[in-house]
């Protein structure tokens, strides 16, 4: 039987990678991801995990080594955050089009300047269009489960795409939670050995990563786009299989008290737990408020989101990312596009909150709902609003 233990979420993720029996882990430490790769290097050093741990010289090198390892047919894992993720950026676009199923946990953190080691989603939103499958975890258990799920989905021959599991830095990475660590036997049942469609093998030579002349580049990118969109089927199937084996069911979009709700908060990641508390408080005071949480960010679950939004009249979308010079934050933009000219579409209001580790409290969620209700009656001047910002 799986054991439920009090464990730091980062350590639990590293244990999940061990259970997944990763072969190669090229990694560079960066706060707040450090404990994940630190624990993995210990597991490799003490012989508990039979893998190559490559202490690379930078995140750029980490992702480059990941590409090589995955191309050679190795189950490959890495983890990063913030400035480190940005340093990887040049390489991140490569494994998706090359169909290399690398798994990465990103402990989300703000970007400089000013220097901030604390949590928001700006680091990953910069990397929105890298062509990886992306999920967002709400709590420690989910971080562990989504890590195992990522290997299962990424390496599926129908998918063969890299995958990121986003966990909020500190709020998840450094918190000790009761987490059920699955049994090896159960994990083996869920996660078959990695058998890539193609790999670098001198006995059967192929070339990976060639030049794409103008006659093929568009087709190569459209092939990736279609592969990413088609991956949703496997993402869902793998969550069904996960539920059968482990008893925990995940959906691309989760709803909380959305029945008959007029205003829906829309969140991603760990602030959703606070949002649920806020929804309870507002329901207690008679307000028809609910919560929709996006777990699968890429490919975006359009059908599931429309269904989850139901007949709500107002969506209050929270981005943990300030979009300088843009019309609104990335999640807000996504939903405005999704509902553009859809008959009966809800009014969508975009809020920016929780930057650089600022807490988003129950009161802030209440403020957001109040503002969204007011804006539904009288259109706001701006297309998004930063919550909790001081002027003086």
């Amino acid at each position: 039987m799986a054991k439920r233990v009090g464990i730091e979420v980062s350590i639990a993720i590293a244990e999940a990678v061990k259970l997944a029996d990763a072969d190669v882990i090229p990694a560079y430490p960066i706060t707040p991801q450090t404990h994940i790769v630190e624990h993995l290097s210990e597991l490799v050093a003490n012989g508990e995990l039979d893998a190559e741990f490559i202490p690379v010289e930078s995140e750029h090198a980490a992702m480059s080594a990941c590409c090589g390892a995955s191309a050679a047919g190795a189950r490959t894992f890495t983890s990063s955050s913030s400035q480190g993720l940005s340093l990887m950026s040049e390489i991140l676009y490569i494994p998706s089009t090359m169909r290399l199923p690398i798994v990465m946990v990103v402990a989300n953190r703000a970007l400089s300047a000013p220097i901030s080691i604390w949590n928001d989603h700006q680091d990953i939103m910069v990397q929105r269009d890298i062509g990886w499958i992306q999920t967002f975890a709400e709590n420690g258990q989910e971080a562990v489960d989504l890590t195992l799920h990522a290997f299962r989905v990424a390496e599926d021959r129908k998918v063969s795409l890299p995958m990121i599991v986003n966990i909020d830095g500190f709020t998840l990475s450094h918190v000790i939670e009761p987490i059920e660590i699955p049994d090896q036997e159960e994990v083996d049942k869920f996660l078959p050995p990695f058998k890539p469609r193609y790999k670098l093998d001198p006995r059967k030579p192929i070339s990976m990563g060639p030049v794409g002349v103008p006659e093929v580049y568009t087709e190569a990118k459209v092939a990736l786009d279609n592969a990413l969109k088609a991956s949703k089927r496997v993402v869902l199937k793998a969550w069904d299989e996960f539920a059968e084996i482990f008893g925990r069911k995940y959906n691309p979009v989760e709803t909380y008290r959305t029945e008959d709700a007029e205003v829906l908060l829309v969140t991603m990641g760990s602030i959703s737990e606070t949002a649920m508390t806020a929804v309870d408080a507002m329901r207690d005071s008679g307000q028809k408020v609910g919560l929709v949480r996006i777990r699968l960010w890429r490919p975006f679950p359009s059908v599931e989101f429309r269904k989850a939004a139901g007949k709500a009249k107002v969506l209050a979308v929270i981005d943990r990312c300030l979009p300088p010079g843009a019309v609104c934050g990335p999640v807000g933009e996504e939903l405005r596009s999704l509902f553009y000219k859809v008959p009966g579409a809800p009014k969508i209001f975009s809020f920016v909150a929780g930057l650089g580790g600022r807490d988003v409290t129950v009161e802030r969620f209440e403020e957001i709902v109040d503002k969204a209700k007011a804006y539904a009656k009288r259109r706001p001047k701006e297309l998004y609003e930063v919550i909790g910002v001081r002027e003086k």
Partner: protein, 97 residues
């Protein structure tokens, strides 16, 4: 990716854009990039092979008579052979049409 493979749709492009046939660059016609071509004066040629050595595309082959002949399927017309020829036996002639 070889140009001979280039006319493919997104459904038929190789998985991950991999090149599955080793050495298929040989079928990549680079000759159509050329704006000028090398013409050899056999009277001046001493068969030294400098053109063969310097050609960056390995477009030169030796004939049975010992002369070096440029394969216009690959020759991009860079003119290095003409520049390096110690006997000025190679002239670059503009491609017409």
């Amino acid at each position: 990716m070889a140009k001979s493979d280039a006319i493919v749709g997104w459904k038929t492009i190789t998985f991950g854009c991999h090149v599955l046939e080793p050495g298929n660059t040989a079928s990549f016609r680079t000759g159509d990039w050329r704006s000028q071509r090398p013409v050899l004066d056999k009277e001046k040629c001493i068969k030294c092979g400098m053109c063969y050595i310097f050609c960056p595309d390995m477009a030169y082959d030796q004939t049975e008579e010992g002369y070096y002949e440029c394969n216009l399927f690959y020759c991009k017309g860079c003119g290095i052979c003409a520049h390096e020829c110690p006997k000025n036996a190679i002239t670059m002639v503009p491609e017409e049409g």
